[in-house]
C-alpha cells in the first residue's frame, strides 16, 4: 500500500480547482449524508459549493459529535518547558532570530509549574518546547515527564520531530500522546518558511506522526497551521487524509486533528491568507463528517466568542487557563518569553462555566494511565 508521503505528493499535484468546479449543492448534501464518506466526499465538503450549506453541515456534524462524544468537552492546558530554538520558522516568535528572552525550566521549576497547574484542577497536560535537542532534548523531556506523570493522568507533548526509538522511550516514560503540526503540506512553501535548522527536513517531519503511532503513542494529533498557505482547502484536505491514513494503518491509536490558525507573534511575518471564521468552521465541519470518531482540538489562539459558538459544531478538545510563556503558570516574570499571543485568557473555572451554560460538560480526566504502554499490533 502507498505510504502517506506518496499520497501527500499525489494530492499536492491534484487539480482541485477542476474538481471544485463540478461540485453542486446536491453533491454536498449526498456527501454529508453518507455513513462512511470517501476522500472525494470529504473534498466535496471542503468545496466552495459547500460554503452555502454550512448550516446543514453543522446540523450533521453536531448530531455525529453528540452521538459519539456526548455533550462533553475535553479540557487540557499547555506547559511551556523551554523556548530555546535552533530553527528559523518565519512565522514563530521562538524563531532563533527573534530577540525573545530564552529560558529552560529547571526540574524544580517544572515541579512548581506542574503543582500550580494541577492545583487549578487541570488533569490533562500538554508539554511544549522549541526545537533545540542539545538544550531540551529527549533526556530533558524524559526527566520532566517523570516529575509531571504523578500529577497528571495524561501528559502529551508538542515538541520537535523524533525517531521512532525516541518516541518509544518517551512513551515508556509516560508520555501518552503526541501533537505534530506539519505546518504546511506544501513542500515548496515549507522550504521557504523554514530557511534554517533541523526542522527544514520536510520528509522527517511528515513521517513523525506515523513513527509516533508505531512507537505506541496512545493519541496522535496532526494539523496544519492555517493561514500559512493561501490554499487552505488543500491543507485541510491533506490534514484529514493524514488523520484518515493513520487511523486505517494504526487502528490502535486515537488519531486527532488540531485546527490552529495563525496568530500575531514576536516576529513580523504576516499570514499568506486570512482564513476567515466561516472558512475555519467549514474545515471543522468537513473534518468531523469525514472522521466521526476523531478528536478535534481548538486552542486559545481563537477568540472567546468564536470558541463559545463552535462548541456544538464538532470540537472535542479545548485548551483553557493558558499561558504560552515559559514558566508562566507559577511565576509572573516570564512575560517576555511568550510564543504567540493567545486570544482567550479565561481561566479553567470561567471556561467551564461557559461550557456548562451551553449544556456541555467539561471533562478534565479521560484516561487512566497504564504502567506500561502497549504498542500497536503489526
Amino acid at each position: 500500500m502507498t505510504g502517506f508521503p506518496e499520497l501527500c505528493a499525489t494530492t499536492m499535484d491534484r487539480d482541485l480547482a477542476s474538481f471544485f468546479a463540478r461540485v453542486t449543492p446536491d453533491d454536498v448534501r449526498r456527501a454529508m449524508a453518507r455513513s462512511m464518506p470517501s476522500a472525494d466526499d470529504f473534498l466535496t465538503l471542503l468545496s466552495p459549493a459547500a460554503q452555502g450549506l454550512l448550516e446543514e453541515m453543522a446540523q450533521r456534524a453536531h448530531e455525529l459529535t453528540v452521538r459519539h462524544f456526548g455533550r462533553t468537552m475535553q479540557i487540557f492546558t499547555p506547559l511551556y518547558l523551554s523556548n530555546h530554538c535552533t530553527n528559523r520558522c518565519v512565522y514563530c516568535g521562538f524563531n532563533a532570530g527573534t530577540g525573545v528572552a530564552r529560558k529552560r525550566l529547571t526540574m524544580d521549576e517544572v515541579r512548581a509549574e506542574g503543582e500550580t497547574i494541577a492545583a487549578s484542577g487541570q488533569r490533562q497536560l500538554l508539554i511544549l518546547t522549541g526545537d533545540a535537542p542539545a538544550l531540551a532534548g529527549v533526556d530533558y523531556l524524559e526527566r520532566c515527564t517523570k516529575i509531571l506523570r504523578g500529577m497528571f493522568p495524561s501528559v502529551t507533548m508538542e515538541v520537535f520531530a523524533m525517531t521512532e526509538a525516541e518516541y518509544a522511550r518517551l512513551a515508556a516514560a509516560g508520555i501518552d500522546g503526541l501533537t505534530m503540526f506539519q505546518e504546511t503540506y506544501d513542500p515548496v512553501l515549507y522550504e521557504r518558511l523554514h530557511p534554517a535548522g533541523p526542522k527544514r527536513d520536510y520528509a522527517f517531519r511528515l513521517g513523525a506522526p506515523e513513527r509516533g503511532c508505531r512507537a505506541g503513542m496512545r493519541v496522535v494529533n496532526v494539523g496544519a497551521l492555517l493561514g500559512l498557505s493561501p490554499d487552505w482547502r488543500r491543507e485541510a484536505f491533506l490534514t484529514g487524509l493524514h488523520a484518515d491514513y493513520l487511523q486505517r494503518h494504526y487502528p490502535n491509536t486515537d488519531v486527532a486533528i488540531s485546527l490552529p490558525r495563525m496568530r500575531p507573534h514576536a516576529g513580523h511575518f504576516q499570514p499568506a491568507t486570512a482564513v476567515t471564521d466561516a472558512n475555519l468552521v467549514q474545515i471543522l465541519l468537513a473534518q468531523r463528517i469525514f472522521l466521526p470518531f476523531a478528536g478535534i482540538t481548538i486552542s486559545t489562539r481563537e477568540a472567546p466568542a468564536f470558541r463559545d459558538n463552535i462548541v456544538p459544531l464538532g470540537v472535542t478538545r479545548m485548551s483553557a487557563g493558558v499561558s504560552t510563556a515559559v514558566g508562566g503558570h507559577a511565576s509572573d516574570d516570564n512575560a517576555d518569553t511568550v510564543q504567540f499571543e493567545i486570544s482567550d485568557h479565561r481561566g479553567l473555572a470561567e471556561f467551564s462555566t461557559m461550557l456548562r451554560s451551553r449544556g456541555y460538560q467539561p471533562v478534565y480526566k479521560d484516561w487512566e494511565p497504564n504502567a506500561h504502554v502497549a504498542g500497536n499490533r503489526p
Partner: protein
C-alpha cells in the same frame, strides 16, 4: 410472577442498565436514573477522578444503584485487567464491564482480547460482563471463560441504529444459558422493546438517552419499553403468518379423495 434477573448472584427488578458518559451535565444523572427505574449504572473508570478538586461523576451516582465500572479506553487485555483491578481497589465493587476496543475508526470490540480479560478477571472473582460483537463462538468462549452475562451490540456504538444484528442476537439468545444483555446501538425505546420481546435478558442504553432532547423523559420511555418488551416475551406472542390463507390450497387434493 416473580421475574427477576439474576447476575452474579444479585437479583435485579429492572432490566434496563444505563450509562453516564455523554451527559452535558452529570447533575442530570440522578433524575435520569430515577425516571428509568434502572438499578445498574455503568461508569468509565478513566473518567473517574477520585482526588479531583473539580467534581467527579461518582458524586452523582444514586447511592442505591449497583455500579458497573467499565474498562473503556483499554486497547489490550492487559490494560483492561489493570483498569478492572484499579476499579475494585477504588471501592467500585466486583462488577466489571469489559470493553476492549483497539480500533479507533469503528470502535468495535475485540473478541480475542475480551476473552483473555474475561478469563483472568473471572478467576480473580470479578463478575464479568463483556461487551462483544454478537458472535456465537465468541459468546461460548466468554461463557467458558467465566463471564456472568454477554453484552452483544445491537448496532455500532453511538449510532442509535437499533437492532441491526437482530439475527445474530437471536442465535445468542437461543444458544446461551447466560443472560444476553443488548448493549450499544439502541436509540429508541421501540428498539429496546423489540430486543426484550426476542428474549434478551436486559438492555444497556446510554447514547439513546443522553443524546435526546429530554433525557429524563427518554429514560422513562426506555424503562417502560423494556418492561413492555419483557412482558410480551413472557406472555408469548401469538403466531404470525407470512401469507394469507390461499383460496386454492396446494394440498387440498389430499382431502378431495372419494
Amino acid at each position: 410472577m416473580d421475574d427477576r434477573l439474576e447476575i452474579g448472584g444479585v437479583q435485579l427488578d429492572s432490566r434496563l442498565f444505563i450509562g453516564t458518559g455523554k451527559y452535558g451535565d452529570d447533575a442530570l444523572i440522578p433524575a435520569v436514573a430515577e425516571a428509568s427505574g434502572a438499578q445498574v449504572i455503568t461508569v468509565a473508570l478513566r473518567r473517574v477522578d477520585l482526588g479531583a478538586p473539580t467534581g467527579n461523576v461518582m458524586d452523582h451516582i444514586p447511592s442505591g444503584m449497583r455500579l458497573l465500572p467499565n474498562t473503556s479506553g483499554a486497547r489490550t487485555a492487559e490494560e483492561a485487567v489493570r483498569i478492572a483491578r484499579l476499579a475494585r481497589a477504588a471501592g467500585c465493587g466486583d462488577w466489571i464491564k469489559i470493553e476492549v476496543i483497539s480500533d479507533s475508526r469503528h470502535l468495535l470490540p475485540d473478541g480475542y482480547e475480551t476473552a483473555r480479560v474475561t478469563e483472568i478477571l473471572a478467576k480473580e472473582g470479578f463478575v464479568v460482563l463483556p461487551y462483544m460483537n454478537p458472535d456465537l463462538y465468541v459468546a461460548r468462549t466468554l461463557a467458558d471463560a467465566g463471564a456472568a452475562a454477554v453484552m452483544p451490540l445491537g448496532a455500532p456504538i453511538g449510532t442509535n441504529r437499533g437492532l441491526r444484528t437482530k439475527e445474530m442476537i437471536a442465535i445468542l439468545i437461543d444458544d446461551q444459558r447466560l443472560p444476553v444483555i443488548v448493549d450499544a446501538g439502541l436509540g429508541r425505546p421501540s428498539q429496546a422493546c423489540e430486543a426484550m420481546e426476542m428474549g434478551a435478558a436486559a438492555c444497556l442504553v446510554n447514547t439513546g438517552i443522553a443524546s435526546s432532547a429530554d433525557p429524563v423523559r427518554m429514560a422513562r420511555a426506555f424503562g417502560d419499553a423494556v418492561r413492555a418488551g419483557r412482558e410480551a416475551f413472557l406472555a408469548g406472542a401469538g403466531a404470525t403468518r407470512t401469507t394469507a390463507s390461499a383460496s386454492s390450497p396446494l394440498t387440498g387434493f389430499l382431502e378431495a379423495r372419494p
